[in-house]
Amino acid sequence: MGLRLDLLLLAAALLFSPALSDLVILKVDRRVDLTSQIVRVTSTLKVENNGKDAVTEVLLVFPDRQVKNLAYLFAVSSAGKGKAKSYSHTLSVNEINLKGMPPSLVGYLVSLPEPLGKGESYTLDVLAVYTHSLKPFPEKITQADIQLLVFEDSAYYLSPYEVKAQSLTVKLPQARIESYTRIENTKLHGSDIKYGPYENLPPFSHSPIVVHFESNRPFAVARELVREVEISHWGNVQVTEYYNVVNRGSEITGEFSRLEFQARPHIRGPSSFRNLVAKLPPRTHSVYYRDEIGNISTSHLWSDSKKTELEIEPRYPMFGGWRTAFTIGYGLPLQDFLFESEGKRFLNFSFGSPINEIIVDTLFMKIVLPEGSNDITVTAPFPIKESRETKLSHLDLVGRPVIILEKSNVVPEHNQYFQVYYTFSGISMLREPLMLIFGFFFLFITYILYMHADISISKSSPSYLAKMQWEEVQAVIQQVENIVSRCLAVHEKLEASLQDLSRTGVVQACKSVRKSADSTLKELYKEMKPLLSFLQSSSQAAHILPKVEELVTKERELQEKLMTKHLTVVDCYEKKLGGREIENRINAHQQKITVLRQEVDDLLDYIDEL
């Protein structure tokens, strides 16, 4: 590979050197950071224009095997006066292809903020972030082995321009290094390897180096991450993140012994990782952490006014090659993320995963806007594939618009804010509560209507008519019963007056009670007559009529007996007879009264039961 690259580079040098030789790189300092699974290369370039014409662009060149892993490229002016733009991969590749660049090289043009005149120099920093460029070697290790990684690069800065002076620093996580390529001017300082300085190298100089070192940093890679952000204008932004995580370090082979892992986790399972830390925005609430078979109880949450930190532990320690899937969700206050400008609302939200030092192979960012949002535009700091769909959720009629942003090879450097602009009227917020209110309102209305409506199919059918008549009869019988019960009440009163009499001995009051009772009873009989005649005329009442009539006669009988009893008692009092005497006289009446009352009650019960 290295040799082939060299040949290609030579060819490229031959092709390009005349065209771009106007610029000279005075000094390059490269620092390669290998302390995590993400490789960050920071290069400080000092370029000088040696040509006659003013130069506006600087060409950066990368071998394509690196470009494949290049997740993020960023150039910034060292003077700190405003940022230089970084160009997208595709655009730059096209540009270079037009100029006949060999396929093994990909170029990126960095445009300078102002044209660089003859003899002027300019300093810029370029940050290139690579994923998956550290290869575990050996690829399979046992539980107790430490994880060794291989990093390949060139000791010389690959550039289409002549480089006057350059140096390279490789920063490793630990001082334990298996091996590294030694060329001239190579020094080892603790965990840093320094190459250089090298001077006056022609364009496309190349000197492959390999570093083989120990690293037990987590190799957490989310093969797929779906972040769903749902906005509710009632004050909440709900974020749900679906992770599908794998440890891309050296794969474990042979037995996994829990015993050894538990006894000496750092020695007997150094390549595994147990937890991941997510930095969530401040004021995060209702955090949950679960997977498809339920809640995962191993997580911790710390929060202060600046940030919320969530430490999540997968169900099992993640050894090399092991996979897991989980979901985290949390709510955020709306006012921290949703703003208004020029009549439009916009959501300002960060793009990448909140988990520290995780690589995301494919990230889907879904922004679910409330139903009724229009005019949706997205602005992002880097190019993203965008698509739309709708989601039907609680009480939706047409569905909520969903914007899907897709990006592959996402690194923490992508945690930048993007904006989604849309219009949404506040009245739409009330739609769903109103829908509920009216829904229940109409439910009750329909029930009331149903209760009052007559939904029998035929109004002239004999059964229907019979039913109507029967209802009438029932109503009448009810009335009769009422009257009878009122008669009974009058009887009670008579009895009560007798008791009064026995206590007070005032005959006059008793007589007046009897009179009033007499008159009310007569009135009641008058009332009863039309009802009885109705019953007699009605055919429906035929089977119940005898009972009703019996009731009426019994009642009358009862009343007569009572009256006579009353009369006797009053008489006796007037004659000032003794208590025993009175009792003897009314005894016979009393017995009949009890019997009759029983019969009347029974009849009432019987009629009631119909």
């Binding site: 829990r258 099992y316 092991w322 009560a496 009631d608 039961e609």
Partner: protein, 782 residues
């Protein structure tokens, strides 16, 4: 004393009572639902235990693929390599119910997950069940008893144990279906309405869909019908209640694939057909009796009896011959073990091995139905005063269910509604009597007082009131005439009148009135009893029955400690093994493995194939090499064992191991139970037999266990293990969970044969080969 209750007063009071009853019912529903949420609050919203995981998986399939694929579903992820026809062997009621709920919610755009719907199905249906209990008890003894019974059922611990949120099992909906079917039967019996009879058949169909316990209905109802006929209570209503149920019900039951022709072929259903014939004969007799003169009737009876008896004898003889020709006499194993409690332990160890098929102990009655056990006799007495068709049914129900619950712990569930109904009746009657006498005393005193004090004032006031009331009444009757929703009002009136009647009666029957102080104390004691019941139920719901059993917790000084090992293991299997890998474990973990780990299992909790289970049992009780061969022949890649020795989890595989030996030995006689017992005792310490110490289960459970504490002290068996240091030759440990509760081993691949080795190794190889041969002969798969 009893001022006449006028119509308007009655309707107002009555409407108030109705609304009150309605709200009480709603509150009972809320109570029944929310008392079952302890599991969600204390743990999480998750499916519980074993069978619910299978139901959950089936529901997932149903919601994903639709009803037609569901009927035709052949599940190849279980019972490998046999597979299982799920659509034809599962009671689909629960699944269809939850699937329908999910579908309705989704068509309303309410995106609840299938899991959520499944978790909350059981509490929802317990609310329904308590309402059904209200209806049933109301038919038996009036609304007061109904409300009491509904409240009792809403929180009866026995039912809670099967229907907490997450306990997504057949019983959860089946108890509702059972009570509702009984309600409709009684309703039909009381009204004689064909409408209710049809509903009854449909409700019976739902019950058949839901649970194998439907045979209880189809035997209890004929028993009741027979009882009614024998006691001379035959009426056309009884005929309407029974005949359509048998015809329609049997036809509908035969539509359920899992029942199919069993609905007419098995002995469980014969009672219903027999009674069906009897009721027709009786109906005919009554009809003929109606049209013939008594003398002619006598002649006809003697004629028909002599012919009929002969025919009957012939039919019964044929029937008996048919039934006797089948080995189990046409009864399924579970039914037989009900009729003969010793049957299962004698012939089917697999039924006996399930703890819920054991007979209950006395404390479990107190635990599961609590004070109801004391109230039931009172309820039975109340049912005899007076004995109606409905109350005789209630009595029959309680008597039979008490018997069944005595045979199997599981059937305590059938007893619970009966006990609630009886206790509801008892409570309501007791309260009636006590509050009635309190009311009598209070009213009596007040009237005497008023008569003593202002005797003249009240009679003057009354007529005025009456006049006002009278006009009201006439208006009211007018209204009633115009409103045509007469049915309801009729009922209302009935009720009012009953109330009025009872007050009249209480007035008459002064002898039944208890002394004031006694009744106050009685009411107080009853309330105390109820409070005790409520406290017990809440305790049972919160502490005893809400643990999901896949997550365990323990309280330590440092706080709550969670043991989530099962899901740890299943999640590991799900993500870190190949999709088509086969996992062998004891059948208890089959459903969970398929549902949570999505891996193919050899046996699962649907124990339909005894031989297959015995094969796994044999493998577990064989030495390592033989076990490896059995598992390898079954294409198994991973073996999962549950081990509680480190943390003291008692229901682990070592404790279940004797059942594996027994079941394995039942099919493969070279596994003998005595080989694993030392002097009849099951032990794993240094006294254990070598067979025990060399069997696969022992080795997989205790592999490297001694290294944890240096002694190998098993916290479940409270002893040091017998064989401490050993190596595995044919299996390798690939995963063990945090508390060692689940250990997963992988079968090592067969070693390559190495050629050209020294003679010594050759001879060794040949000896192992010969031993292999010997083992192969033992291997039950060959």
């Amino acid at each position: 004393m009893s001022s006449p209750v006028t119509a308007s007063e009655r309707t107002v009071r009555h409407a108030f009572g109705n609304v009150l009853a309605f709200f009480v019912l709603i509150l009972i529903g809320v109570l029944a639902f929310s008392i079952r949420l302890f599991s969600v609050i204390k743990y999480e919203s998750v499916i519980h235990e074993f069978d619910p995981y299978f139901n959950y998986r089936v529901t997932q399939f149903l919601t994903k693929n639709g009803i037609y694929d569901f009927w035709n579903w052949f599940d190849d992820r279980t019972w490998y390599p046999l597979g299982r026809v799920i659509g034809g062997t599962v009671y689909p009621g629960l699944t269809l119910t939850a699937g329908t709920l999910w579908w309705v919610l989704h068509s309303l755009n309410i995106p609840l997950s299938v899991e959520t719907v499944c978790v909350f199905t059981a509490p929802t249906f317990s609310a329904f069940a308590s309402w059904a209990t209200y209806l049933l008890t109301k038919e038996v003894k009036g609304p007061g008893a109904g409300l009491a019974a509904a409240a009792l059922l809403g929180m009866v611990p026995s039912y809670i144990s099967r229907s907490v949120a997450g306990s997504y099992d057949n019983e959860a909906v089946a108890i509702f279906a059972l009570i509702f079917t009984f309600f409709l039967y009684i309703k039909t019996l009381n009204t004689g309405s064909l409408f209710y009879a049809t509903l009854n058949a449909i409700s019976y169909f739902y019950m058949v869909c839901s649970w194998g316990g439907y045979t209880f209905i189809i035997n209890l109802i004929p028993m009741h019908v027979l009882l009614c006929i024998v006691t001379g209570r035959y009426s056309p209503r009884l005929y309407i209640a029974y005949a359509p149920l048998v015809v329609l019900g049997t036809l509908l039951a035969a539509l359920v694939p899992v029942v199919g022709f069993n609905a007419v072929m098995t002995s469980e259903h014969f009672a219903s057909f027999l009674v069906f014939i009897i009721i027709h004969v009786v109906a005919l007799v009554y009809y003929i009796k109606g049209i013939l003169s008594p003398r002619m009737f006598k002649v006809a009876v003697t004629l028909v009896l002599s012919i009929g008896l002969a025919v009957c004898c012939a039919v019964i003889a044929i029937l008996i011959a048919v039934v006797a020709s089948s080995p189990t006499k046409g009864w399924s194993g579970r039914s037989l073990s009900l009729l003969d409690p010793t049957y299962a332990s004698k012939y089917i160890p697999i039924i006996a091995s399930v703890s819920e098929h054991q007979p209950p102990t006395w404390p479990s009655y107190f635990m599961d139905i609590n004070v109801l056990a004391f109230l039931v006799p009172a309820g039975i007495i109340a049912c005899f005063l007076p004995l109606s068709d409905a109350s005789s049914f209630a009595v029959l129900y309680i008597v039979t269910s008490v018997y069944f619950s005595g045979v199997m712990v599981r059937l305590m569930l059938v007893l619970a509604p009966a006990a609630c109904i009886m206790s509801g009746i008892a409570l309501s009657e007791a309260f009636d009597a006590l509050t009635g006498s309190i009311k009598f005393h209070l009213l009596g005193f007040s009237i005497e007082n008023s008569q003593a004090g202002a005797g003249d004032a009240s009679p003057d006031n009354v007529p005025a009131q009456k006049n006002a009331v009278k006009s009201d009444a006439s208006e009211n009757t007018l209204k009633e005439r115009t409103s045509r929703k007469s049915k309801k009002k009729e009922k209302e009136r009935e009720k009012e009148e009953q109330d009025g009647k009872s007050s009249l009666k209480s007035q008459i029957k002064r002898l039944q009135v208890l002394p004031f102080e006694a009744s106050i104390i009685g009411v107080f004691l009853l309330i105390l009893l109820g409070a005790f019941y409520v406290v017990h139920c809440v305790w049972a719901a919160a502490e005893a029955y809400s643990a999901p059993s896949i997550v365990l917790t323990s309280h330590t000084q440092s706080g709550l400690h969670v043991f989530d090992d099962f899901r740890e293991a299943y999640a590991w299997l799900r993500h870190n093994t190949e999709v088509d890998d086969k996992v062998a474990s004891w059948w208890d973990y089959g459903y969970q493995t398929t549902a949570m780990a999505n891996r193919t299992v050899i046996v699962d909790n649907n124990t339909w194939n005894n031989t297959h289970i015995a094969t796994v049992g044999t493998a577990m009780s064989s030495p390592e090499k033989a076990a490896w061969e059995i598992f390898n022949s079954l294409d198994v890649k991973y073996v999962l064992v549950v081990f509680g020795g480190l943390v003291g989890y008692p229901s682990d595989d070592i404790n279940k191991f004797l059942w594996m030996v027994r079941i394995g030995g039942g099919v493969f006689p070279h596994i003998k139970e005595p080989d694993y017992l030392r002097d009849g005792q099951y032990r794993i310490d240094s006294q254990a037999t070598p067979t025990m110490l060399n069997c696969l289960m022992y080795k997989l459970s205790y592999y490297r266990f001694v290294d944890t504490d240096g002694k190998g002290f098993d916290r479940v068996r409270q002893t040091e293990i017998g064989k401490k240091y050993f190596k595995l030759t044919h299996f390798e440990e690939v995963f063990t969970t945090h508390h060692w509760m689940v250990r997963i081993y992988k079968l090592k691949p067969q070693k390559n044969r190495i050629r050209g080795k020294s003679k010594k190794s050759k001879s060794k190889a040949s000896s192992t080969a010969s031993s292999t041969k010997r083992r192969i002969n033992k291997n039950p798969w060959l």
